[in-house]
Symmetry: C2
Subunit: 226 residues, 2 copies
DNA sequence: CATCCATTGATTCTATGCAATCTGGTTTCG
DNA sequence: CGAAACCAGATTGCATAGAATCAATGGATG
């Protein structure tokens, strides 16, 4: 379960629809290109079409699905160019947010430390739980974004961070990449504690860039063998 | 009339509702803090509540209104901190997009030249039409964003650029600021023509930052005398 | 007199029915 | 035989009615 940081603030039924459809897409249950019919989703989820429509519109603004007027919505087909675009923006926004957080000095360092430690512990098991790892990672990044003091950048990034979740799963990381990623987290905490914006920004950028390299390699390999 | 670059892709009624409500907010007809009742808007606009709801949800994601569950939506009250946040993000995203456009070299230079020239002509009249100027300016920035090749950054910025329109009106610019702003536009075209990403990025950042300084001065003065 | 609770009014949220629109296949005409 | 018009099916878009929820008011009670 990927606990989302920014609550959708919708009604109960619309919230159910949003969360369920989003999860079905992220889990790969609804592959790219598939048409999402309002009727079918409403029946499956046990709600009416109205909240389903709201959820779909929201997912469209987040880029998870594309909405064609009078046609319907289909789940977005992710190309390498899409991933490059998303990581390009993340590598711009997240470092900036991290620098802001360092400058303000209001980051919840103990929470970050806790999350980083728990990620260490999760990796140090025989069969790491990559879902739990992803969840902890999301919460780590969310906490930093929250500390930036900009609600806008928070919602902007959080709508992008889980988008390539199908690709950027930790299970594809090499042990070396995994260790490096966790080390980045600890270094970020140190940079924040030192109130050093430049440091915080740099290490976050390195973090995102390295993730992009891993993801690209994975995506290119997958594109070669469809 | 502020022609929006990215079409909302909604139905006819929902589109009408979106455009109308958005304009009423931007024009100041609906002041900050006012509650937007679905019934009243539907009656005024001559459509049903359903498309009005869609429009409101969209405006909420764009930050023009805030949506409180089971309470309704009210138009956002803009603080100086909000403006700072928006300009901070613009000064991050727009220069990046400009650099991307310069690197790709696919910008529609003739269109940009035309827009910049028309802005010059508009300013060179006895009583400049500031609305037309704002429209041309929006289209100039939109064109550059489109040339960046990233649809995401395009929609991200376009949802922020017209937000503080009540504040960032050219009518508050001094003649010197106005000339400088127009000069920036021409310099951007030169940088794009030279395929010089660093130059393009720098001049765009200067452009946004100078706009922020003008806006801040105006906003602070207005805050002092409510 | 202050506080708590119930009731009321207004508004959003959900459900459902109808109209508008698009796709695909069939027919008809040149 | 090819192409354009057309009809049928399905799906979205819109409208409206009922259900759920919240703030506010008034009265009862300690």
């Amino acid at each position: 379960m990927t606990a989302q940081g920014a609550g959708p603030d919708l009604g109960p039924a619309a919230d159910i629809a949003y969360q369920s459809i989003r999860l079905q897409i992220l889990s790969g249950e609804r592959p790219g290109g598939e048409w999402l019919r309002e009727d079918e989703l409403a029946a499956v989820l046990g709600v009416s079409r109205t909240p389903v429509r709201e959820a779909l519109r929201r997912l469209a603004t987040e880029g998870l699905v594309t909405h064609e007027p009078n046609r319907g919505v289909q789940v977005h087909n992710w190309t390498i160019e899409d991933l490059q675009e998303v990581f390009g923006l993340r590598s711009l926004l997240e470092p900036w947010a991290c620098a802001q957080a360092a400058a303000r000095g209001q980051a919840d360092l103990s929470a970050l430390q806790d999350l980083a430690d728990r990620m260490d512990a999760t990796v140090d098991t025989p069969n790491p739980d990559f879902e739990a790892l992803t969840d902890l990672n999301n919460r780590f990044h969310s906490t930093i974004l929250a500390a930036s003091g900009s609600r806008r950048v928070q919602s902007l990034v959080s709508s992008m961070v889980d988008v390539p979740l199908v690709w950027r799963t930790f299970s594809r990381y090499s042990p070396q990449e995994l260790r490096r990623s966790l080390a980045h987290h600890h270094e970020m905490i140190d940079a924040l504690r030192a109130n050093d914006p430049a440091w915080a920004e740099s290490i976050m950028r390195a973090h995102v860039q390295s993730a992009w390299t891993s993801t690209r390699r994975h995506a290119e390999k997958a594109a070669g063998t469809p």
